[in-house]
Subunit: 311 residues, 2 copies
């Protein structure tokens, strides 16, 4: 049943969001980490999704994922409850946000089971869910993937730290935001926090900094990926997950995870995140193309280009 | 009396700071925008300083500036008062800070007068002082400099906006921080704020973002300069002024202010700022060399280096 074509498997939330921004609002905005990840990664590799939705999940969401070729064999439809719902309001500068409501619904009892033919997937991304479930997913893999990435959040650092540190010790790349890196380590300095986290196990570490871009700590080096300054940020929801999708999706093409290739992956992540925030939900990720992605990659090249001088 | 060697003239504060950080404190820390600017720029070009100090200014400060070749012909020593003093305390993450005390001293009546032989200087930096005085300095130049840079702060945006907008209209490069750019324009989006500011006059705009680096808006392009992640930030005081010193100091070597050269200047600014924050006052900028500066420039090259891929 296994498939030799390079694929990435993502396990995480599929949700319906109610997003309020300073200038607009969408009440039934399809979201969830696994959704954003899948839409972004779908341009770069095959994607397999494991998650759960309730009986209220919009059919259009399934159709959109399928039209991008995302395998939904691992998406459980639980007709006994409602889809995970999140309601949030962004601040004027679009950076901070307040959560107004969270309804876990069927996500509360989510117990991911990998379809047989997913268990040899070579690239695995454990999106932000309870750390104990992330571990359960990893244990269901028949062969250890070539590369495992993991995301988490402050909630688990606060209430399930031991489980989180345990699963972190088993992955290759951790993606986490700046505040979470400090919370996890108790360090106020990011370089020291990065060192402490890599000491827990992961070879490489991605520190997400929102509109300021992201840092990659690999080998003895640091790589700084900028975010593309945009005149119109419509909805930042899912930026980090789209980043992870671009990042893992590029690596899942089978390139070796060398430092230099991880750097390139960081830029693909940044490219997909920059598209994602230009629209609500994954609107802007429905009709991309390799050409559009490469053109924006070139924008990142120019954004960071400078010449050396002889003094 | 004029001198044809490329030089940069800086007008701004010379101060004694009392700096408190989470791990250390220095009570008599020589500071001031013009001081940090001069120490940084001194490695790249000749520097002329215009400012004022009182009878209490440490002799060592003058000796340090002179040993770096900084011309102090424009530094007024006013024995009727005390030097500008600032006391501040940095937060745990070294980003934010609280001002605990400010004593303007002789700086309150500062009325900059350019020595005759400074009036043809080809590069001028108007560090953060009352906008009306910045304009007075510009009007004292016998010939319009090739390049004029200007810095300001939230205080002047709030209480002297008209004067500030007036002087901004006459300069080539404005350096300002992110929050100030938004305050000045009323825009929450940085790209829109940048457009509005360039509409006021300056060809180019540098948006300073502290530990996240800086953005340069030039021509129809944006350049993102990262900050170097450092394991030990001792004292961020003067980072922006050191940045400006490296930036203007490089341009004052006589390179044309093309977009590409402004980008290179941004990296020299970032290099000098990265050294500056590694010690109190300008400690770390006393014993630099072209070799050390170029080596760190290479670190910035590697920090931002990535390879393109064919998809």
């Amino acid at each position: 049943m296994s498939d030799n074509k390079p694929s990435v498997l993502v396990v995480g939330s599929v949700a319906v969001d109610w997003v309020i921004t300073p200038r607009a609002e969408r009440e039934e905005s399809i979201g969830g980490a696994a959704t954003f990840f899948s839409m972004a990664a779908s341009y770069l590799s095959d994607v397999r999704l494991v998650g759960v939705v309730g009986d209220d999940f919009p059919k259009q969401g399934l159709a959109d994922l399928e039209s991008r070729g995302v395998s939904l064999d691992g998406l459980e439809v639980n007709s006994e409850g409602k889809t995970f719902r999140w309601k949030g309001k962004y601040h004027d500068n679009m950076n901070g946000r307040d959560t107004l409501d969270t309804q876990l619904g069927v996500f509360e009892a989510f117990d991911p089971k990998l379809p047989e033919h997913y268990q040899d997937t070579e690239y695995l991304f454990l999106a932000n869910i309870v750390p104990a479930l992330q571990l359960k997913v990893l244990e269901q893999m028949r062969t250890r993937p070539k590369l495992v990435g993991l995301d988490s959040m402050d909630l688990w650092i606060n209430i399930a730290r031991d489980d989180l540190v345990n699963v972190i010790s088993k992955v290759d790349v951790l993606t986490i935001n700046e505040e979470e890196a400090m919370l996890l380590t108790g360090e106020h300095n990011l370089v020291k926090a990065a060192k402490a986290i890599r000491g827990m196990g992961p070879d490489s570490l991605v520190i997400k900094r929102g509109e300021y871009g992201a840092l990659l700590f690999h080998d003895e080096e640091i790589f700084s990926a900028p975010a593309l300054p945009l005149a119109e940020v419509v909805d930042p929801t899912g930026a980090g997950d789209s980043f992870a999708g671009g990042f893992m999706g590029y690596l899942a093409r089978g390139v070796e995870p060398t430092g230099q290739n991880l750097r390139t992956a960081m830029i693909y992540g940044s490219v997909l995140a920059s598209f994602n925030v230009e629209g609500f939900s994954y609107d802007t990720m429905k009709d991309l193309s390799i050409e559009k992605i490469q053109a924006r990659f070139e924008q990142f090249s120019r954004l960071t280009d400078f010449s050396r001088a002889e003094l």
